[in-house]
């Protein structure tokens, strides 16, 4: 597989890699990556530790021994009491969900190893599980933690951990699957959506795998995985051509022995990072390398980031920023904090990406489907809110009822050098480099220049308006 020639490495390619492997690369990071070179940059991106640096988890992110007791109390309560308790519980979970989303967004914004979070975001979309059914922010966090810690490791380890993950057991009904009535939901999706893709297994394989998976369940009290021997169907099954008294673990191993298990996940990862489907030869190469390296993701990612095709014209500035990419990237480029957890949640909801609440088990469609007229108008308006301060997106009610520290306008002094702020031409170049990595069209630059030149003296406000103009372009929606 042709590798990208290090002689061609420059700011633009460095920005491309940093943005695909992370969120909103700022000029200093681009410059550092350019100087370090592709090889060193890719290595640094991939050198994240198992447990993130400064990993502070939400204080409620642990099993709640009271939860089971609470659930039992519901059963004994009168209808009115139960209603009140359930309402309280729903509110509680909603509050935690909003906190959880902000917690993850904050990791994306600040982690020295953004690829770890980017990869977790990929796996969240891949194993798309929703709190709508799981109904526990803690269980959603626990699944997210798997993506962070095992997302770059071996496929079998990740797949096994996710398959036994309580949120997944609930999400695809595996927790209730018994030998008399095996539930096929997980058995089907594990082959169709997670590992092989449609057409690479038969209906018979689904029913047989469902039988082998019976017994994998959830201990409600401890909220942990349990293997219930008396629910398991011990008889012989034939899965993807192999016959035996298979158990759950065997199903996953049999699946990952199929050659399609290499091509399927390689193609999906490639597309997530590169933006367009891989050429046939590239995919064959990646799948071969992946298989040879014991189906480990870290070397695969490195191969992707070094591939010539990754830097091809068709992949540069041609990927629509997901709402998460847009929000986290924008606050990084503006050198500001995230808006409040309520506002972040609201923005992402409006833009179509509720974290921990994907639309269905297929995850977000992504790509161009992130953008429709309403989303685009909202992105333009939200960027104004992020530039000029949060007050702009708060309702009057919020301003009254949520007295808290509200962020003001972005400080241009922290974005640009003094000399850049003084000269229109230098400012123009700096704006273009910081926000669009030097890809503004001549006509857009002219418009921006006209605007900036028309101001008698450049005030912060004028510069912020200039940023707003750049963010209100189709071009800014792409990386």
């Amino acid at each position: 597989m042709p590798e990208f020639s290090s002689a061609k490495w420059n700011d633009r390619y460095a920005a491309h890699l940093l943005n695909r492997a992370g969120f909103g690369a700022i000029p200093q990071e681009v410059a550092a990556a350019r100087k370090a070179g592709l090889e060193a940059t890719a290595d640094r991106l991939l050198s994240f530790p198992l447990i993130p640096v400064d990993y502070k988890i939400p204080e409620w992110a642990k099993p709640d021994p009271e939860r089971f007791k609470k659930l039992r109390e519901y059963k004994n309560a009168s209808p009115e009491e139960r209603q009140a308790m359930q309402k309280l519980e729903r509110q509680h979970q909603r509050d935690q969900l909003i906190e959880l989303r902000q917690w993850w967004l904050e990791l994306m914004r600040t982690s020295p190893f953004p690829l770890q979070e980017k990869l977790a975001l990929f796996w969240h979309g891949h194993f798309a599980t929703s709190i709508q059914k799981v109904k526990s922010a803690f269980l959603m966090w626990q699944q997210n933690d798997i993506f962070r810690k095992k997302g770059a490791g071996r496929w079998i380890e990740l797949l096994t951990a996710v398959s036994k993950d309580p949120a997944m057991l609930i999400w695809l009904d595996q927790a209730q699957s018994k030998k008399d009535h095996p539930n096929e939901n997980f058995a089907r999706e594990v082959m169709e959506l997670f590992t092989l893709g449609e057409g690479n297994y038969s209906e018979k394989d689904v029913t047989e795998a469902a039988r082998a998976l019976t017994g994998w369940s959830l201990e409600r009290g401890t909220q942990q995985f349990v293997n219930r021997a008396n629910w398991h169907d011990p008889n012989s099954k034939t899965i993807l051509g192999e016959t035996g008294n298979w158990k759950g673990e065997d199903v996953l191993e049999i699946i990952l022995k199929k050659p399609q298990s290499n091509t399927f996940i390689c193609a999906k990862l490639w597309e997530f990072f590169a933006g367009t489907p891989p050429e046939k030869e590239t995919l064959q190469n990646l799948a071969h390398q992946f298989s040879q390296a014991g189906q480990e993701f870290r070397p695969l990612l490195k191969a992707i980031f070094r591939a010539e095709e990754f830097y091809a014209d068709k992949n540069l500035n041609n990927q629509v920023k997901s709402p998460v990419q847009w929000l986290v990237g924008t606050v990084r480029l503006l050198d500001r904090e995230l808006p409040s957890s309520q506002v972040s949640t609201q923005m992402l909801r409006t833009l179509g990406q509720d974290l921990f609440q994907p639309p269905n088990v297929k995850g977000w469609d992504g790509g161009l489907s992130w953008i429709n007229t309403n989303h685009l108008l909202n992105r333009y308006n939200f960027s104004a809110a992020l530039i000029f301060g949060e007050k702009n997106v708060m309702t009057n009610k919020e301003k009254r009822t949520r007295p808290r520290k509200v962020q003001g306008p972005v400080r241009v002094e922290s974005l640009f050098q003094e000399e850049e702020i003084k000269s229109v031409d230098k400012l123009l170049a700096a704006l273009d480099f910081r926000f669009t990595y030097g890809t503004l069209k001549p006509r857009q630059k002219m418009t921006l220049k006209e605007y900036l030149a028309a101001q008698k003296e450049l005030e912060s406000e004028d510069i912020l308006n200039g940023i707003r103009l750049i963010m209100s372009t189709p071009d800014y929606q792409l990386i």
Binding site: K133, N317, L376
Partner: protein
Amino acid sequence: MEPTFKTRRQFLKTGVLGGALGWTVPSFLARTFNSLATEAANKTQPSTGKDSPILVVLQLAGGNDGLNTIVPFNNDLYYKARPSIAIPQGKVLKLNDEFGLHPAMSGFKELYDAGQMGIIHGVGYPNPNRSHFRSTEIWQTASDSNKYERHGWLGRYFDNACKGADPTVGINIGKQMPQAFASGKPVGISLENPEKYRISNSGSRGEGEMEGKDSMFEKMNEMDENGDELNSGSSISSLSGETPPESRSLDYLERVALDAQISSELILKISRSSKNEVTYPPSQLANSLKLVARLIGGGISTRVFYVSHGGYDTHTNQALSHERLLKDLAGAVNAFMSEIKLQKNGDRVLLMTFSEFGRRVAQNANKGTDHGAAAPLFLFGNKVKAGINGKFPSLVTKNLHNGDLKFNVDFRSVYAGILEQWLSAKSDPILNGKFEPYQIVG
């Protein structure tokens, strides 16, 4: 159909707006207000009285309890299954000897008596799913219950039958586009408030505006002339999840940006040019329908409106909450249909309700009902086949499926009827299969 502007390029070239395609500047509004409102009115009102039908889809989100909406007041099994929440025979608004409306629904009763309401009993689908979101998805995408479709049935209608239409061909009133609108081509828009469906004025200068902002946004968002000529037509034919390899995402984004400009102008003007002439009850649903009526009255060329009404998930103490919902629903729909009639648009508007499922026949221990299956569906308009249609599902225990009503009419047959008889579109390609069209128009 008669899109207001046949192509986007034509729109750009129309003299009405000239070079002043802007966003929000008041002077610009004042200048073009009259001409555009007239233009819109001329395009639709006189010429399309009968050949431009409009569909309004009203989603009752959460799973409406059909049995307490259309009450089988002579059926002992009904009263036996629901000892404390059944609607007493003496209270129902009788439609015939068997069925009556919930007492809060005088708004529906009036429409029924005027021959403007059709009821279809027992609508559902095979192998029903009791999950809200999954069943909603099934209704929205018109898929089999074991299949996942990416695009919605209305989106496929836009793709198949509304080629070249401007983005306002489908309007959802609400934040998030319903999956029913998801389509290969990016048509259809979502809005809550026409005054907010545009670039906001807020900025560092408070309520003031950035000087000359409108024309600058325009210039920053313009597509390159050459690129546009080169790619017009084919390049946006297959846009969904993945990026089409032969096209740049930027082409697509530039088009959406232009669509946003066109539609936000159009909607603001039309909604401002048209007033509501009927009093609506004070509710969110009524506000949504009010806006729809205003847009229709203002002559917008939209074919499908989508509105939703939430809260139907009545697991506990349902009597009061369900009564409030149904009163709200019947009142809002009644006001809407009256206004449409007043506008003399009665012959070209059809409103259809749906809910992801009905509810369990037997009440639960909390004086509520749990997720069920088949339920009645309602249609409104001058042209609908009025009265009670379809076979009422049996309440006999052995005829139930896990305690739920069995469906007699596949919802996709209802869709097929609407597509064929109302929207004059071939239903097979839209529904991905052959469904016998149910008789919708009477």
